[in-house]
Symmetry: C2
Subunit: 214 residues, 2 copies
């Protein structure tokens, strides 16, 4: 019975996600669903990305959080169209939440829409929201055992951004183990090693992102 | 409709949690529901706690993960009774999962049972499993904005263990902001600053834990 309810919810979600996707396609907007555990650096990656390429590529952002609007304020200060969704308890964004906010969102003229999901390494991977691709971040401070413990998100993502590599020398983390186990789950997974704090490695991420758009 | 389903699930869960609690009380076992985001260091805190006090206090552990049994292996190597729950996708432990495993678990003679929840800063806070108290970990590398973004877990917990404080000098994190905003949400919250890697600060945590039992 429990299983039936869940599969019904996922099917209904997928239908709405497809409608969202058709709308995004109509406006020629490329959409990334950005996921990670809390505090891995999603908003910092978006800020860095905006600073690097918003002169060439028009970016919009949808922020998802249980509560609060700090992230939307950070993005708004960069003069980028942004809307904050507060899920009010739900641990992931779903397609209907996105549908609710895109009606009033200035999609016209946008090249790239980044949807920052709720910080959670589990459920966001199950709910499509209408994106072209999923991208996940992992802070290396979270340890090297995450691919085997949270396999679905690694399997569903097109790219994995390993953030906070500047802290690597101060930890016991084996970054090669993360990369090996991630690509065992998903051989096509593109991996970037970056530090949003120092800027290290961001150029490769930016270059890849630009190659996706247009 | 959606809300009704959720409240029904939570009520049914609470009933089973009370039954679990009665069983724990019968055996005189104190139970901690240990929660955090992925990779904050729950298993490391349990390992350190076992090493410090398992001579004086009999400890058992239930490990919750989506997949894998690495954590249970780490605990088993310390000669502590442990059982691994794999939720198979679910992002939190619930009371029924605990009921399923405690039937065969050697509760007799135990003083303390630590239930390590799935790594997730959201849903575990909503589901009682039969615990006496909830304790949460936050790695300081997750940033200082977590209390305002994930308020429920801070409100529900009796203690907050701030882990990885050895990394503080290499980050931009304001630990006073974490403490202030956590205690604004929950004035009774007990806060410990520790590093499971260096051992710093663990003595205060251990002392507090010992004061709870018996």
């Amino acid at each position: 019975m429990k299983v039936k309810v869940v599969s019904h919810i996922l099917e209904a979600n997928d239908r709405i996600a497809e409608e969202n996707r058709r709308l995004f396609d109509k406006f020629g907007v490329y959409v990334i669903n950005l996921m990670s555990a809390p505090g891995a650096g999603k908003t910092s990656l978006i800020e860095n990305t905006i600073k690097e390429i918003s002169g060439k590529i028009k970016i919009g952002v949808i922020e998802g959080d249980i509560a609060g609007s700090d992230d939307a304020k950070r993005i708004k200060s960069l003069n980028i169209p942004v809307v904050q969704i507060n899920t009010g308890g739900a641990c992931h964004l779903d397609a209907n939440m996105i549908r609710e906010v895109i009606d009033g969102f200035p999609l016209k003229g946008l090249d790239l829409l980044i949807i920052e999901n709720v910080g959670n390494l589990v459920c966001p991977a199950e709910f499509r929201v209408g994106e072209n691709i999923k991208v996940m971040l992992l802070s290396i401070t979270e340890g090297d055992d995450k691919p085997l413990k949270y396999p679905l998100m690694f399997q569903e993502s097109s790219a994995l951004v390993l953030n906070k590599i500047d802290l690597l020398p101060y930890t016991n983390v084996n970054i090669e183990k993360i990369k090996k186990n991630s690509q065992a789950l998903n051989p096509k997974l593109k991996i970037f090693e970056v530090s949003c704090r120092t800027g290290e490695g961001l150029n490769k991420w930016i270059k890849w992102l630009q190659s996706l758009i247009k």
